[in-house]
Amino acid sequence: MREFEYCRARSVDEVLRWLRDGTDSKLLAGGQSLLGAMKLGLMAPERLIDLQGLAELRGCAATAGGELQLGAMQSHASLARHALLRGLVPGLARLASHIADEQVRSQGTLGGSLANADPAACWPAGMLALGATLVTDRRELPADEFFTGFFSTALEPDELLCSVRLRRPRRFAYAKFEQAASRFALVGVALAQFDDGAVRVALTGGAHGVQRLPAFEQALGQRFAAEALQGLKVDAALMSSDVHGEADYRAHLAGVLAARVVQDALTLEST
């Protein structure tokens, strides 16, 4: 790894000052993806800004409006075990508990995963399906606008993701077909149904970053049952081909997983 300047931020203002002073800076949350990329030379920032000391980026609490607010610096492991999250959206806590392995989960963070927008990551699919609001230092972005493609988000170069807010769904479930070594999703499908009957379905593991499956949403909005998806297919053009699987195989898996998450959502209800 090439040498860099290391700064541990004491406030959000300090983060923003460093992001704007002309030095090529990267934010360091848990580092579980970033450090791997730096070791491979895929990234070589001049400065890392460590966010671990920012208490305002932590927490998991219900808001006055009845929504749930999750701090960007909460680790996957802490959210997997969080009683409030497990109570309100058990499927989301379950999603967190199946990211990578415990050592990575104890260090990796929600905000790091969302801002990195790895096309095979789990959190982006969950937040897109839930229609979550991503709260930055200056604005609130709906998940539909936040994720803009392959490792790509709407965040400005000097913008900091602070927390995520979500409303409680009637049902939520997520399933992935794991790439056996990394436990990233070869394909993953997240699904949320809300009290008004609306359904949102998000696909991860695709070629263009996380995205919704409108035809699946419509079918499930009319009838929330696995059978409602019969005849629907995920377009192989959404998927990529590599050593782990061809695009048509992944597209097939996505359809199978979609039917499975409907079943899971019916058994794993929000309480």
Binding site: Y6, G36, D101, S106
Partner: protein, 153 residues
Amino acid sequence: MLEFRVNGRPCRLELGNASLLVDALREPLGLTGTHQGCDTAQCGACTVLLNGRAVKSCNVLARQAEGADVGTIEGLAAPGEWHALQLAFSRHHALQCGFCTPGMLMRALAMKAEGVPPEPAAVRQALAGNLCRCTGYEGIVAAICEWLGAEHA
């Protein structure tokens, strides 16, 4: 200057910012019980405790541990003594070449705080980030279950 505590002992090190926690432990501090295996956060041989949480020290900067408590295999038991977990590994033949063992022990130690129940399926899931190419895991899982069960009793 990096300051942190390793196995309860305050340490001050001159290190480059790009140094990984595993490098800080193994080289300046000579704590070579923490093994560097894959260097890609997959094998778990470099697992240590960072403020009580099991982490892969090949995927954490030494700087990230500034001010923290780091626990390594060397701190498990006093010289000449054995930790109950080590004795359980011995009883169950839970190692062969031994390369993964420090990481396995540190991982197992954190399972208690996580509330992992002393059941093989739960322990196997909790151990997903630690690879062993010798034993087939049977002895490791049995040893950890025995220790977790005894500690819970």
